[in-house]
Symmetry: C2
Subunit: 435 residues, 2 copies
């Protein structure tokens, strides 16, 4: 049987990894698939690199030429970004090529353009590597859990942030120091904004939200809050109270709409997600029939990500010549069933909250704070004096029960207006992960 021909766009980390996996595991892949997968054409800025890594592939300088090459069945887009990558993918689809991509930004921001075109042209667009690297979470959401109504997803889906938070907790270090260490180790980019401010996690949770609930991509409505402003004191206090702080991507279906958000989150230390450390990723899915499932593994790196890219290639290769209209739909639901749904503004989400208040240590202070919370219907689970700043000022940590976010925000504004409160309140959301 003739080989499946891959046209590879980009020989960066993941592109190089993909070439390695296809070469090193060629025999194992053929044993499974029943045919060979070969890189027939490659495009990269460096022809020398291309010739070195893919000596048997045609080097094609122009990506737009590659995506219409007759010896290419599947275009594997590993340029990243939304410039040439977007145009090349659209052009490839126009030319009837199937697509594999690891490009979360492209799908989260332009998926609503890409997927309808792919349906029109009857090509597959696979993107396992776009979310949580080597963990087969897209396959779980689209296929493994297909009998369920999914209720919520919460994931540690940015390894850089998780590494930084793990180090801050274990060593008690400040954010800036750990970031420097992460950069030295290659776990963080020179410009780390994309990872530490939640954009990367936002792209990934946007994609999972669409798959879970059968909606278009809603990245522009995704709330993004990163870890750069986290104080190591809060990590310490959280730990003393039995919690860990993780950067979570969260999406949840409620009666009023869909929650879609990325932010630092306190989670109980006994939960598996709380014990996912270093650069590792994990995604927790809650679904109506199966209940809680969790998927853990490497969220980045050349070979883990390439593992997902090649799994997608194998999936496509199985169906490439099949006469069928019954492939797994791109967004898990039939195109006609993908329905826009209301994404809740943050003021309308429900959560519980960790609040740290810096206040004058005098009789009546706690009472005043408690009264203002009660006035906004925020009920208190715990109220503990933690640190003492100086002779007259103390730090009070409050854990609230679940409430609507605008209640908490109004209470915070009122408390900050008290004369005994002398600094902005720190607010971090909490998730019990029991629903």
């Amino acid at each position: 049987m003739k080989p499946v021909n891959i046209g590879l766009l980009g020989l960066g980390t993941v592109g190089g990894g993909t070439a390695t996996v296809l070469q090193d595991n060629a025999a194992e892949i053929s044993r499974r698939l029943g045919r060979e997968v070969r890189i027939s054409a490659v495009c990269d800025l460096s022809e020398e690199k291309a010739k070195q890594i893919c000596p048997n592939a045609a080097f094609i300088k122009d990506p737009f030429e590659l995506v219409q090459h007759q010896d290419v069945d599947v275009v594997v887009e590993l340029f990243g970004g939304t410039g040439i990558a977007k145009d090349a993918v659209l052009k490839a689809i126009e030319n009837g090529k199937h697509i594999v991509t690891a490009n979360k930004k492209l799908l989260a921001e332009y998926g609503n353009e890409i997927f309808p075109l792919a349906e029109e042209k009857n090509v597959m667009v696979q993107f396992e590597a776009a979310v949580a690297g080597g963990i087969p979470i897209i396959k779980a959401l689209r296929e493994g859990l297909a009998a369920n109504q999914i209720r919520s997803i919460a994931g540690i889906i940015n390894g850089t942030s998780n590494f930084i938070l793990t180090e801050m907790r274990e060593k008690g270090s400040a954010f800036a120091d750990v970031l420097e260490e992460a950069q030295a180790l290659g776990y963080a980019e020179a410009d780390p904004t994309f990872d530490i401010e939640g954009h990367d996690a936002g792209h990934k949770i946007t994609i999972m939200s669409a798959l879970a609930f059968g909606t278009p991509m809603n990245f522009s409505a995704c709330y993004l809050e990163g870890i750069s402003k986290l104080d190591s004191r809060d990590i310490k206090y959280a730990e003393e109270l039995g919690y860990r702080i993780k950067l979570l991507g969260i999406t949840r279906k409620t009666d009023k709409g869909i929650e879609l958000r990325v932010h630092p989150t306190l989670i109980p230390e006994s939960r598996l997600l709380a014990n996912v450390n270093g650069v590792m990723n994990a995604v927790r899915v809650n679904a109506d029939m199966v209940g809680e499932t969790l998927y853990y593994g490497a969220g980045a790196g050349a070979l883990p990500t390439a593992s997902a890219v090649v799994a997608d290639i194998i999936d496509i290769a199985r169906l490439i010549e099949a006469e069928t209209d019954h492939r797994v739909p791109h967004l898990a639901f039939q195109p006609s069933q993908v329905q826009a749904q209301n994404i809740l503004p943050m003021d309308e989400i429900t959560s519980s909250y960790y609040l740290r208040v810096q206040a004058t240590d005098e009789p009546g202070t706690l009472g005043q704070i408690a009264a203002l919370l009660a006035k906004e219907n925020v009920s208190i689970e715990a109220l503990i004096q933690k640190g003492v700043i100086n002779q007259s000022t103390a730090e009070i940590v409050i854990l609230t029960h679940t409430t609507v976010e605008h209640n908490v925000k109004r209470a915070i504004a009122a408390i900050e207006a008290l004369s005994c409160v002398d600094a902005p309140i720190t607010m971090i959301r909490m998730e019990s992960l029991h629903d």
Copy 2:
């Protein structure tokens, strides 16, 4: 598009759950699949129950009639066991029906008969629910990790045993007491042998081993050791040393052959698997490209197991009319590539070991024991005096480095022959879960 017609064999726990999932999530399933899934025929000992649960299905008293019924596309076998279930499945395949089954015993013991027949008749046999209930681990092994050479699998795949071990640890209770409690809660059968002696876990690790390494089923070569002889002292000592004891199913590819075994195992408490408690299941897979991935969820129960059954039905429904020879192979590898491989006898596996020795508390005892271990090339990681039995007798716990099992067994025999050792040595295997 016409519905997919299911013939359901058995309305026990999982059968009833399957009917519930198909009914309650009918709309969601159609939104994903693009067609309806309906139970067209049902067979159960109780016609009354069948009429009540599946009022729109034909009741067919004789399973062998159901499996050749013209209005059945997919036979869902949920009888369990290897009597009628086996004959009905073989007959259904003969009649060109696709199969979904949750029957781990049937596949582990008769898979080598069932799968070749299914290939000959070109029907799909899906069995996600047979391993780890609602966790989509079969899909991960067959598809999600298809680009990898799998190195090893270690799983908590029997909820009853894990519940008992969790309770023994948390409450310090004896095995017999916790078993009674588990029976009262419905977590253990009246005759619990199948669960607590490792048979159930053995069936499941046998199936995963075949999928991972491309071999036939090797259940008869699987080593089975359950938890009924575990002493709560060993759970306590393990915990003091930073370990938890779990009943693991383990399979590993080595240069000399495949390890395939079920036994209580010490694992470091920091590993995610060590923190999987109660009736929950989890499977850790180590593969060459992706590294470590882990899959967690409910391993039993009506609805979680039915979630997997219905996912299999949806997979089949997508391809039922497709003109393709390129379905995912039953055992992950092309039938021609399934190769028998040597299953290592237990004496030839490598592991590290926890040994508890009861010995006279007198000068020279430790030296004698250490010398006998050294003589068999067993090197000691830790040697600690734990408990004192009486004035003259103490308990010594030894943790060894990795070695071949027959070395340890020879050392144990030699130590037991010492006059200062006055009871059989307790030996429990350990896994670092780092490979």
